[in-house]
Symmetry: C2
Subunit: 221 residues, 2 copies
DNA sequence: GAGATATTAGCACGACCGTTCGTGCTTTTT
DNA sequence: AAAAAGCACGAACGGTCGTGCTAATATCTC
């Protein structure tokens, strides 16, 4: 099963494998772009091959099946997302400021069109959230992971005493994610960036309303 | 152009066109269901024909093109949405209570799977928000309409003095919509209804935080 | 009744889909 | 130097797609 070699398994000094992995990377780079705009269903092996000057069977051989190509595309998008959104705040010490920076990082990620179709996962979750199968399963796992990240940071901010101890971290995480994600389709649908500012204000407002010190330094620029 | 007769033009007593409209309704009833789960791209004339025991050319003739079928599907979904979400609160007098009831009506609409794939427009907006064309245009118009409805009700609640006069109705509408819409994918992805409760709490919290009388009767059951 | 009109069926078309197969070519292993 | 492994290729497969034609079938007007 060739598809299972898509990730993992380093430490091979095989030039053929390296060349193959390079091809797969090329395909996936294009695939995440297409999927973020048109969805995972719009991925077609023939189209990718034509776009990249490869043969259809060559692209197919690199993944083994269309579904494996879609799964590999999701994994590739996950890495890009993590680099773009989580990367910039990785060094930040726990606390309310980190929560705010993460939200701002997400908005910047959507705004900058790291994926040409806006947030990859907004598009793809909507596409598969009602269609049971391996794709929905991996998307659900990704969502859980992202949610757990936000939740963890909020909990840390309660731990540092910057958010009230009786605040519900689950509700806060749900609200923050909702505000971020909703800015995305509105900005795309109207080709207008003001939803990002509105989401930013709403995020700050929610955090302030749960803060122990509403005028604290976490909200000074 | 046969497709343009899909809506409007009542008062015809011609049995032939009545029969045609009945067929179109049958097709659209199935089409909105499919599109809410798999998207507008997954609509296929042949599949609809097979499912409904019609001929492919018969279905095709009823709409004239695939794009017209997709547009008609969106229009049909708009009517269903309006009946399910706006209908129950139509008689309600303006005020904060009406805002709350509208949000609860939306949550009930998503929860009850009025469309089998959850909110039709969540699915379809994500699918087309980054793809310019007639479909995106009509979806943008629908979003604007929905947003204007929420905004108008919030403004009315400021007018009645139940929300603070210095509250920003745009920000409130943005936040409410974000909370509602975010419950949808999470409930679908995990086959779990608790996001609806979380969204409900967050909606009440936001309205309370902008209310002139935080313990007023608008929040008593 | 006859004739006009609108909806449906049947069929064929070119294009694209995912997939399979056999075959070179290059690199690694022995 | 010989053998094995892995990638990419071109050709072909059965299917489905949207979309045109033409004929058959309902319904209305007279």
């Amino acid at each position: 099963m060739a598809g299972s070699t898509t990730d993992g398994r380093a430490s091979t000094t095989d030039g053929r494998v390296l060349r193959g992995e390079e091809t797969r990377r090329t395909v996936l780079r294009r695939a995440v772009g297409i999927a973020s705009v048109e969805g995972l269903d719009a991925l077609s092996i023939g189209r990718l091959a034509t776009d990249l000057g490869l043969s259809k069977s060559g692209v197919f051989a690199g993944f083994g099946s269309k579904e494996e190509l879609q799964l590999a595309t999701v994994r590739a998008a996950r890495r890009i997302f993590a680099d773009a959104v989580l990367g910039p705040v990785r060094e930040e010490p726990p606390g309310l400021r980190k929560v705010r920076l993460l939200c701002e990082s997400w908005l910047a990620y959507s705004r900058a069109r790291v994926f040409p179709g806006g947030c990859f996962f907004y598009e793809v979750n909507a596409e598969y959230d009602a269609r049971p199968g391996p794709l929905r399963d991996v998307l659900a796992a990704n969502w859980r992971e992202w949610h757990a990240t936000v939740l963890g940071l909020v909990a840390e901010a309660i731990g540092t005493g910057e958010l009230r101890p009786d605040a519900d971290p689950e509700d806060i995480a749900f609200t923050l994610i909702a505000l971020l994600e909703n800015a995305n389709p509105q900005a795309l649908l109207f080709d207008d960036d003001t939803p990002y500012d509105r989401a930013h204000r709403a995020v700050l407002r929610r955090l302030r309303s749960d803060a122990t010190d509403p005028d604290g330094p976490a909200f000074a620029p």
